[in-house]
């Protein structure tokens, strides 16, 4: 069927209803799948501002967020030729996370929003989709878009994190505002380890520490992009062709 014919058929009332239903299904599944992955792989770092450190959060955060975003990016391109999948996933996972923070963390257990905001991935998702759109190549997208995904995660979110990294002195001790908030809101997830990672040889890298972490994140995300593509192919596309016990 030619593209013009398809476009004409797409104007049919029924075709438009199909579009709406597909959109609802996409919204539902591309909220739950990335959101569950995100809460179970980077959960604690995403939940609490005092967990947003310089070692684990900039690496575990973007790589786990990319996994399912890359699937959305891939399926949208494969099935619909739309360079919108990553952005769509990033937007709806953030909506899901915000609904949870507002209606569970804040309005049921009264943690202040300042303490529990989720990290965003929308700017990198836009870059990922645009690079695929321009290059039409998964390899180029993984090398440039995947790298930027990891590399930009911390700088993009740093704008929101910055106010909570200001130092305060209380009872003769100096810590960040994020730490102070953590001491006031005692939880089982009060991080014990943050004080530990500020020791060790990583500290010897002085001001370069965050650069090392986000470089590593960029490389990790370059690989993670392919895991996402493989997952999308294995569970989103191959099942379409495979039939058991066909006669």
């Amino acid at each position: 069927m030619k593209a013009e014919e398809l476009a004409v058929l797409g104007q049919h009332k029924m075709a438009k209803v199909f579009d709406v239903i597909l959109l609802l299904a996409l919204i539902g599944f591309f909220t739950v799948i990335p959101h569950v992955s995100r809460m179970l792989y980077m959960g604690d770092w995403d939940f609490w501002v005092d967990w947003k450190d310089k070692l684990w959060w900039p690496i575990a955060g973007p790589s786990s967020a990319l996994l399912v975003t890359a699937v959305g990016h891939y399926l949208a391109w494969y099935y619909l030729r739309l360079p919108l999948g990553a952005t769509f996933t990033a937007v709806f996972v953030l909506i899901g996370a915000w609904l949870s923070r507002i209606f569970s963390f804040y309005s049921m257990e009264y943690y202040p929003i300042n303490f529990i905001w989720p990290a965003t991935t929308i700017p990198m998702a836009l870059a990922l989709d645009l690079i695929l759109f321009w290059s039409r190549s998964y390899l180029v997208t993984s090398l440039i878009g995947g790298f930027l995904w990891g590399f930009l995660f911390y700088p993009v979110n740093w704008l929101m994190l910055m106010p909570f990294l200001q130092p305060v002195t209380l009872f003769g001790k100096t810590f960040t505002i994020a730490d102070l908030m953590g001491y006031y809101f005692i939880r089982p997830q009060t991080p014990e380890y943050l004080r530990r990672i500020d020791e060790g040889t990583l500290q010897a890298f002085l001001g370069q520490r965050i650069w090392i972490s986000i470089l590593m994140a960029g490389i990790a995300c370059t690989f993670m992009y392919w895991i996402g593509i493989g997952l999308g192919k294995l569970l989103g596309i191959l099942p379409m062709r495979k039939v058991l016990r066909q006669t």
């Binding site: 058929l9 399912v68 996370a97 257990e109 997830q189 495979k242």
Partner: protein, 283 residues
């Protein structure tokens, strides 16, 4: 006497077949939209009511599982959820148990299914997937809510106010709704997946409900883990990960959906052609 009644019934049957062949009742209507609105609306309403119930009774009677109030308010909610689940399962699976009679008549009399009738079946399949997706949304909401519940209460039971909607309502509901999607595809649109007269089970029928099943299966593993080790310091601990892996099976739902896309355009094309020939004939 007997002969007249037989001939009357034959006549009635002929009229019915004539009606069904041209499917006058369904022309221009989209019954699957009604299914989407009612199914999605009731589902969303149930999630909203649970959330309101939690807001009201989460702190007053939710903190201690050994009290009688807990049994009244929280186990009461659990039993109501189970009744809803059983009702949804019975309605969903019996409604589409038999192949569609209209399709059967059209196949026999016309040798094919009317394009608009088939489009309605495809639309309903898509609607079941969309309704399932909405319960998926409930899964992600109540799962993260569970993370924050464990920040304030020491674990004392598998039936906490956050687990009751998560593990015992949205997980089974996802098994049921994704199962209904596959069941509907099997009983109404099987020819799109295996070819006309073909046999076999496309694996997307199995993989789509497998997501809900693996979610529920990991409840067993998860509760066993929590009964053995204290892991409250870390929500991202390893025996939560299979919950994330389970959700990946829902991608198979898109294989289930997109398999029908070529037929949608074929059918729309035929409807457009029919309309243009009818317009020519009338002018």
């Amino acid at each position: 006497m007997a002969a007249t009644s037989i001939s009357a019934s034959v006549e009635r049957q002929a009229v019915q077949i004539e009606e069904v062949k041209h499917d006058k009742t369904a022309h221009g209507e989209m019954p699957f939209v009604r299914f989407l609105v009612i199914g999605g609306g009731l589902g969303l309403l149930s999630l909203l009511l649970i959330r309101l119930w939690q807001g009201e009774w989460w702190f007053p009677v939710g903190m201690d599982a050994t009290t009688p109030e807990f049994a009244t308010y929280w186990l009461g909610l659990l039993y109501v959820e189970w009744i809803v689940l059983i009702a949804a399962a019975i309605i969903g699976f019996t409604a589409y148990r038999k192949p569609c009679p209209t399709c059967a008549v059209q196949r026999k009399e016309l040798g094919r299914i009317d394009p608009e009738h088939e489009l309605n079946h495809i639309g309903k399949l898509w609607a079941t997937v969309a309704v399932a997706a909405m319960f998926g949304f409930g899964v992600s909401y109540f799962a993260e809510q569970d993370a924050v519940w464990h920040q304030i209460v020491v674990r004392d039971t598998a039936f906490t106010p956050s687990h009751i909607p998560l593990f015992f309502y949205t997980f089974p509901m996802l098994i049921i709704m994704t199962g209904v999607s596959s069941w509907y595809a099997y009983n109404r649109l099987h020819h799109l997946y295996v070819g006309e007269g073909g046999k076999g089970i496309p694996i997307c029928y199995l993989l789509f409900p497998a997501g809900g099943w693996f979610l529920f299966a990991n409840v067993a593993f998860n509760e066993l883990g929590h009964s053995s080790w204290i892991t409250e310091e870390l929500f991202v601990q390893p025996y939560h990960w299979p919950f994330a892996w389970a959700t990946y099976f829902f991608f198979a739902g898109f294989a289930l959906l997109f398999k029908t896309v070529p037929r949608i355009f074929e059918n729309l094309g035929e409807i457009a052609q029919q309309a243009s020939t009818e317009a020519k004939a009338s002018s």
